[in-house]
Symmetry: D2
Subunit: 292 residues, 4 copies
Amino acid sequence: MISLAELNASTPDEFVAAIGDVFENAPWIAARVAPHRPFETVAAMHDAMMRVIAGATLAESLSFLRGHPELAGKVARAGAMTDHSVAEQGSLGLDRLSDDAFSRFESLNTAYRARFGFPFIICVRRHTRDSILARFAERLRNDMESEQEAAIGEIGFISRLRLTAKVTGPGMPITTGRLSTHVLDTTRGRPAPGVKLSLHEIGADGSAEIVSTCTNQDGRTKEPLIADQPLRIGTYELRFHVGAYFAAMANGASEPPFLDMVPIRFSIAEPEAHYHVPLLVSPGSYTTYRGS
Amino acid sequence: MISLAELNASTPDEFVAAIGDVFENAPWIAARVAPHRPFETVAAMHDAMMRVIAGATLAESLSFLRGHPELAGKVARAGAMTDHSVAEQGSLGLDRLSDDAFSRFESLNTAYRARFGFPFIICVRRHTRDSILARFAERLRNDMESEQEAAIGEIGFISRLRLTAKVTGPGMPITTGRLSTHVLDTTRGRPAPGVKLSLHEIGADGSAEIVSTCTNQDGRTKEPLIADQPLRIGTYELRFHVGAYFAAMANGASEPPFLDMVPIRFSIAEPEAHYHVPLLVSPGSYTTYRGS
Amino acid sequence: MISLAELNASTPDEFVAAIGDVFENAPWIAARVAPHRPFETVAAMHDAMMRVIAGATLAESLSFLRGHPELAGKVARAGAMTDHSVAEQGSLGLDRLSDDAFSRFESLNTAYRARFGFPFIICVRRHTRDSILARFAERLRNDMESEQEAAIGEIGFISRLRLTAKVTGPGMPITTGRLSTHVLDTTRGRPAPGVKLSLHEIGADGSAEIVSTCTNQDGRTKEPLIADQPLRIGTYELRFHVGAYFAAMANGASEPPFLDMVPIRFSIAEPEAHYHVPLLVSPGSYTTYRGS
Amino acid sequence: MISLAELNASTPDEFVAAIGDVFENAPWIAARVAPHRPFETVAAMHDAMMRVIAGATLAESLSFLRGHPELAGKVARAGAMTDHSVAEQGSLGLDRLSDDAFSRFESLNTAYRARFGFPFIICVRRHTRDSILARFAERLRNDMESEQEAAIGEIGFISRLRLTAKVTGPGMPITTGRLSTHVLDTTRGRPAPGVKLSLHEIGADGSAEIVSTCTNQDGRTKEPLIADQPLRIGTYELRFHVGAYFAAMANGASEPPFLDMVPIRFSIAEPEAHYHVPLLVSPGSYTTYRGS
């Protein structure tokens, strides 16, 4: 990690060496903002970089876009991506797809490159695999101008996250998401402690557990379910094991209890938002809502 | 009560004698539909009567409107209204207003008559006193044509209710409203029996109890709170005494309990609709909704 | 079908021929109640038959229990059960189990017969396969007296259902269960029409769709989800496709919507009860409860 | 305000001068704990003082209790109470009661003094007038020992609050209550901004507005409704003006809207607890609960 103060005080070469890789194969972007230092916040520095991209010539712009690796592409399989891209694509397993999935991405990549002349760019860390495939298909229908805008918008998300992981200073992290929950026992009008719960991503091809935890004395989890990172756009299920909770409270008369595992399925569309998805529950009823 | 079959079989004079008074001081309306008998339903007979009004000359129409009594007016105080109007206006106490309220109606009546040349007509049984005053002020802003239409629309409601009270036959009552409730104990996932509750009209000048009752073994009231009549447009409050219920169930730990009397305040805008306003309640939470 | 009146009027032999098979291989039970005719209701006749069993000698009783087929046993595979048993065991697929499942039942059957000397008897139509296996394991821990009582209790359920399918008359069906739902759109305070929904049984080995339907103008389904039969003890999931509903209403701003498919998972413990499991839903919240 | 560090460092005389009046007319309690300084927290100092009371002789104890003023008594009217008592009793208007209310307290005071020989002591700041009258009547039925304990318990609450208002230091305030709310618009799954709301105390003789405010962009109020002080035991009503909110959002189709002012009535039984009483609301439904 490097502080904003250090970046502000470094030579132009040191500056480019430190954060030039925030934009894929394009250290010239950092070079062009170096003379505009000092920056008051990391967000201001990032904004200046995005203005450099907006002010680039068409040739520079296309060359810049072409410098990105394909998503889940041969370059990934061949192990020739930048470290940043390896980490990002790897977080979704895009570098080790099954042959079927690889073929699906390949045909999308081929169609996309034929239409636009540069690879499909998306901020992987804001997405599940399902939402990437959905956006891919949608964006293939864009005209050239809208698609260049869309690609640069994604580069904004990607570089912002890369800066967040590198630089400390006022106003950091620039942006983030959060998913939290709590469980209220409406029978008592009290938080429900000791309720086991888990969060699952629901994908087209199956579901995967993200985290499994338990409520504390405040009916909340010790940590938010997801924090300090974008929430991946996608569909999730929270599973609350309230049957065991009420059985321990001797509230559950019948066997099996009317409610045992309560699944709450919801989708996330805003990766930088705060989603609070609580459960108000008694043995015979429950309510959930998107809170804040 | 007379049956539709008898009305269909009677002479024209008998027919007019039986139901001519359904329209205020206008037996000619019944006379004009007599040749169109037999009617299959009371609703069809009423529709035919409304078509007679729609097809009347302007002079007939204005004369018909002028034949109605003023609302809460001097005629009412003087005891010179038709029996129907006496019963209807009396149901809201419009024939025995305080001097203040009487003055308020008088000044609205005067302004209305000056503007339109006939008295303000409204189906009193679909309204509370507050909603009558609100409509009165609104309709004073109408142009002549819209207001004649509004007045005849109200006459449609009035005459339909008068027919409903007089004639039996297929498809009767033509239309009606209903207000019901039930109480669920979500702690048990069971209907809550023995919960005392009352329904109150909430007026600008205070509130008045309409009915007080208790839930049965099904968590419902023996009869709907209001049935077989239009619901008066206005604001209401249901008051559920759940504190005593949960105390009897030994669920209420703290003293006083978090919830004791639960007030649910709502407005009715559609007199002929079915409003179902239930309470889902546990000692620490409740939910209500407009059901069906 | 035969009416109670006909049964009351028939000769003893006709009577036994008509309903003697209601008890497995034990027409003597019908024979002993024949002299007590006429019965006022089918329930009264059934009660009389159960009293015959309660008053039988120990030898009769054990012989009667031993006359029942094993559950999912070799007799079933070999096709040698009574027609009634074939239909009942077949409703859960117990006559065509996988080899694994067959082995599991076989070892339970062997242990049970070794302990009690008669086959395990349970009213299959009140159970899912999971709840049968759970009861089987539980009842293996009973002492002889409790277990005889349990077996005869189940015979009561079985014979009551067999009578219900055979005899018409006052007070029929003797008993039944019902599962229903409705969907309220709390955004509008109106029933939600056109919401696709399905009911699934959730078993230890997977889930199976029971029915798929759609809400009507009243937010209800045309028929109850299950009616006129016992509800099988077990775990279920209702899946409401509210995302498409709100999208059609242009209420869903974000893509994907926060709520799309809402799963409500619950268990049924009382096969003859009425379970009403509604959904009160808006794009950002929902509530469910066990209603009545 | 004085810091705990200063109190720990002061002479015994300075110490007694600074906080001796925390117990009514009993500086000897402070004097006896002075030698036990330094205290690590204010709570530890308060505990030490309460142990002095517990260890006092019966004569000291009774004399101490007798040194308290009557509640709403002649001393209050005559203006001869300590400053602390004036401020506390004045917060409920107990020093300026109507003649009727004064008589009611007088007769309770007389009966109490006749029974126990010392005045009725209660921590006024934890109560509404209604809950004081309820406790007064209850405690009159105590035996002498239980009542001395009850009185000393109340003195614990009173002196803790007096210390809280005087002394700063680690772990301060020792204890406090909080009442908060928020409003969720479940139609949007978003906090509802700009909703007018007010909090009212519901007394036997009428209701009084405590605070009137408006939700902010987070659907919360800028400050908690009550904070940094005990919540008075009693009954309250939150009134949320959601009709205007939904009308502004163009969600309210019918006129009048089904929901306009939503009253949530609840009681507080634990003055030092945190009560969070939110409203989840759409035009056709709402839910409230005791949250945390």
